[in-house]
Symmetry: C2
Subunit: 145 residues, 2 copies
């Protein structure tokens, strides 16, 4: 930290508060859409990761979501029943399950993403690329630790 001004406790408290708002708002936007399908934010998070990491395994999802497999299972059961995802046995290791969005899931993801995109797009549209890069960098440092 080259400038201690930005490390004062009040600044850090502000960050903690703002990170909460940013998360809440970003994940609130698509709730009406999810409700149409009788899904919630837990389903949303799973769908998001399955889209981002095509073919992700159960343990892969568990590592990213950091929930128990019982919790994840409820969510995946709903998504399978709804035909939004398909699960394939691993070819190399047939114990593993690889998860994919199918057509219905892709449509749902796109609907959800369109809602979320608005907020991020609006936030970034008048910013220079340096701001965006630095935002991403700080965010990743907060996550990694």
């Amino acid at each position: 930290m080259k400038n201690l001004l930005y490390l004062k406790d009040d600044h850090i408290k502000d960050f903690i508060e703002q990170i909460f708002y940013a998360y809440r708002e970003t994940y609130s936007d698509p709730k009406k859409i999810l409700k149409k399908y009788s899904f919630g934010t837990a389903h949303h998070r799973a769908i998001h990761l399955i889209e981002r990491y095509e073919g992700i395994t159960i343990s892969g999802l568990l590592n990213k979501l950091k929930i128990t497999k019982q919790s994840l299972n409820r969510v995946l059961r709903d998504l399978i029943k709804n035909k939004s995802i398909i699960v394939k046995k691993g070819e190399i290791d047939s114990r593993q399950r690889h998860i994919f969005l199918n057509e219905k899931g892709k449509k749902l993801f796109n609907e959800i993403f369109l809602e979320q995109k608005k907020r991020i797009h609006n936030a970034l549209k008048n910013l220079d690329s340096d701001s965006v890069l630095k935002f991403k960098n700080v965010l990743s440092k907060i996550i990694n630790e």
Copy 2:
């Protein structure tokens, strides 16, 4: 947006994912401390705001937390019972209730904050002040919309 590269969908999807991780990690750190007091993250969020906005009213808290008053009431009852907060009638408008941390609440807040601070401090310690300012700026734009 002066450089469209940073507005590509995949970048926005990354942000959405990273905002989730940042929130989850930041609010996971103090969970062991909260558990000692039989509190959860709902109590944590309330305490945080009461510390930041000393004397905040019930409706003030409701506006920031965006939960129902029934939900908030459960949390505040626990905090009052535990003697972490005190509630005072408004002098100008005696319908209002102003909420304050008392000594016990301040100690609890500090314990919680110390845990959370580590993560943010570590993230920022090797960054220049420009990064920190730009991070804050983007975050506030995401919130405001």
